[in-house]
Point group: C2
Amino acid sequence: MKPNILFIMADQLRWDYLGCNGHPHIKTPVIDALAKRGVNFTRTFIQAPVCGGSRMSFYTGRYAESHGAGYNGYPLRIDEKTMGDYLRPLGMRVALVGKTHMTVDNEGMARLGIDPNSDVGVQVAQCGFEPYERDDGLHPDQSVDPNLAYNKWLRQLGYRSDNPWHDFANSVEGDNGEVLSGWAMRNVGRPARVKEEHSETAYMTDRAISFIDEADGPWCLHVSYIKPHWPYVAPAPYHDMYSARDVIPANRSDAEKASPHPVVAAFMAHDESVNFSRDEVRELVIPAYMGLISQFDHHVGRLVAHLEKRGIADNTIIVVTSDHGDYLGDHWLGEKDLFHEEIVRIPMIVVDPRPSANATRGSKVDALVEAIDLAPTFLDWAGGEAEPHRLEGRSVAPLARGETPPWRDAAFCDSDFAPRHARRTLGLQPDQARAYMVRTERWKYVFYEEYPPQLFDLVTDPQELTDLVPGGKHESVLIEMEQRLFAWFRSLRSRVGISDAEIERRTGSAKKRGYLFGVW
Amino acid sequence: MKPNILFIMADQLRWDYLGCNGHPHIKTPVIDALAKRGVNFTRTFIQAPVCGGSRMSFYTGRYAESHGAGYNGYPLRIDEKTMGDYLRPLGMRVALVGKTHMTVDNEGMARLGIDPNSDVGVQVAQCGFEPYERDDGLHPDQSVDPNLAYNKWLRQLGYRSDNPWHDFANSVEGDNGEVLSGWAMRNVGRPARVKEEHSETAYMTDRAISFIDEADGPWCLHVSYIKPHWPYVAPAPYHDMYSARDVIPANRSDAEKASPHPVVAAFMAHDESVNFSRDEVRELVIPAYMGLISQFDHHVGRLVAHLEKRGIADNTIIVVTSDHGDYLGDHWLGEKDLFHEEIVRIPMIVVDPRPSANATRGSKVDALVEAIDLAPTFLDWAGGEAEPHRLEGRSVAPLARGETPPWRDAAFCDSDFAPRHARRTLGLQPDQARAYMVRTERWKYVFYEEYPPQLFDLVTDPQELTDLVPGGKHESVLIEMEQRLFAWFRSLRSRVGISDAEIERRTGSAKKRGYLFGVW
């Protein structure tokens, strides 16, 4: 019997903000318990340091350099296969509750005559997921959809506003009852203007539970929460579960600030970096961020309990992960876009309830896992045939069973920061705003178009505070890393239309098929 | 007024087998005259050394590494934009007479619900061309389409056979009237069993003339001849227009044969290489090949004359080119797949009849032009907006007008030889059978997966007889060439869904759109 797959994603959740991953103060009892029941992949890396690009890699199983949608708002090609395309033909219902950050290629859809309202049109626009509830979670007044389901629901509950997402779920009240927007970080220490059970995290959980109740299975349900992504507004009681005392020290050094790499310097000048570099900001915002994580943890618990209640826990694999981290002031930076571990390393906890996984319960696996591994893993779990000519990741199912297959010795991530203001500061054209990470067991190498690379020794400097390139002593490592990056480019799969097996079958067969070239 | 574009392609026509390009014996008066009326781009290079891959680069304006259909039979992605997609919205009728070697991605078409019989389905299956007459030109008995138009026509003319393409157009008669197949090269000195005016080259010309007669314009017509591609059977009088005396010496050396590069050695062992290395074969086949070229030249003349007759010559730009060359025994090789000039360098003659091109008539341009430049050139001629985020070539229209815009200083080509027997000889997996060429003014560098590179000095060794890598004296050049290849990989356009201009417009605009991240 095919298992169900409950594919849970948080947004902007750092690897190190879970109890099971070593945070000294945060409370994530549910996820910690899942880690004890499953496998904690402790070195999992994203493929693009921004929501949209990272998610397209999760959903396609391909590097951003391959799928081409490396930044938010870049359309995904119409014919990129996604999780739904892989799993649906195997008899699974593949659905979404929450965020994908998918931008559809409307031009391609029109050129190919695909009706956006047809089944295919909808799937193509939703990364192959059935949009049981699509909600990308950010709804500024300027662009809020008048039909946003969450807003309709809030209005039904009595929250009166054109945009209760902003005015209630992501706003707070001041000392005199005035409404203060959660967009301004100074306001996030106060509770959201919605009850906890009316917050986005609660609502998406309710919707996921509805899906589980109505679906027959086998299914793959992507429950994709917007939080702890900004606006960092948490409902009571999570808004003050933590205080400045619970904030771990910023991972940064004066030397980093004094002589930054030019690209990093341009990002340090962004508002979010300047603000997150201030202790006042960190001490207010990080507790709220932590509260949102504990709330997320609580609702993951509701999902787990519901699987039990429905009697399908024994046949539902649970994956808990995130699309990227959040600098929160580390390295004098805010937000994401670059490659420090705070951004590229994500939680990845896999709980396979089936007896075949009993041997590995509670174990940690430190193999270099990539976000692109999930699509081939799901395909593997669903009993499908591997498609290595297209899927650039590989199934972690053997690792999760305790096997030790040959495995990669480097993880890769690439950043297209063309739409960021930093590009203008640097005077780069859109094509030049590219950077690539190679991360081995020991080294982290960052290649920048137009600028020198960076190199960090993760053994002697796990905090990545000292870029070794200016010191000039690691020439052979730099050459090796550059060669790895060059080999990676060559290994990308653009020949997606034909399988290796089919090529093997055809090799040297032209003459058998009647094409008698070169015959005397 | 938009010009028409008559885009003429020969198949397997070497650069140096035209009078205007210096062949001492071949008669190509029509093309030579076109060169005098237009611009002869004397250093034009293909992007994949095989029909299908090369043509997909012509039609998409993208390197094979980008479009992913690098070998014959590899399907082109459904959403790769092709010439027709660029030109049709500008009001041009874009049609095909002859060969494209397009393989459609049936799986992708089914997944996207595109009906193969719909207008879109047909265009997608035909590289965006309206298939006025699609004929890929190779029709062995095992796979001949019972509805092949050329065969129906031959049967109407009285050529009685299930497959007159083979039994008449590509067969000859022996001394005793027996039918001998043109697949066997020993037979190609004799005339085809069809009259010249019933040969494939004549038929395709007739069909092109029919199109020109019925089309209103502006149009882009791709007249894509199968010949001088094998089977090397020419009709009378072209079958004996040339003899062994007209065959130029083979470009090869004993040293090449004695210590070949491992990949080249594997190709030297193929039948076509072994046979073409024999003088007996060259002296019989090359005259037939030359006859087919003179026949092609004659029919290009019919097309040119027909433009005059219809009164549209003044507004029809003519392009004459080829998809790749033919080793014909040079370097002890037959066929193609590798990167010697005999294969990668193609004719490219552009005749723009409009007064704006008067200054350059009869000139030669030695800038490094690539096959991928035609799609953007056509877009330019048609008055469309450049799409550099997708099109990897660049318009040669300025060069053709005598301007000297900044231009590339290296041409690139990549070979996927996975389906060739040589891969098995070498013991490579399908993914490992890859090679890449970097060709600058002075150097030709070939990078092979799994093997050392090759390097030729085109100034001191224009015949490419001496690979400098074993000598070990050009380390700095090798490093520079590898860096160029690495930079080329990074420059490929996978972010095809959004233009640079649109990114420029969005840069730093998130806050204006209401996404107030990082604000205190």
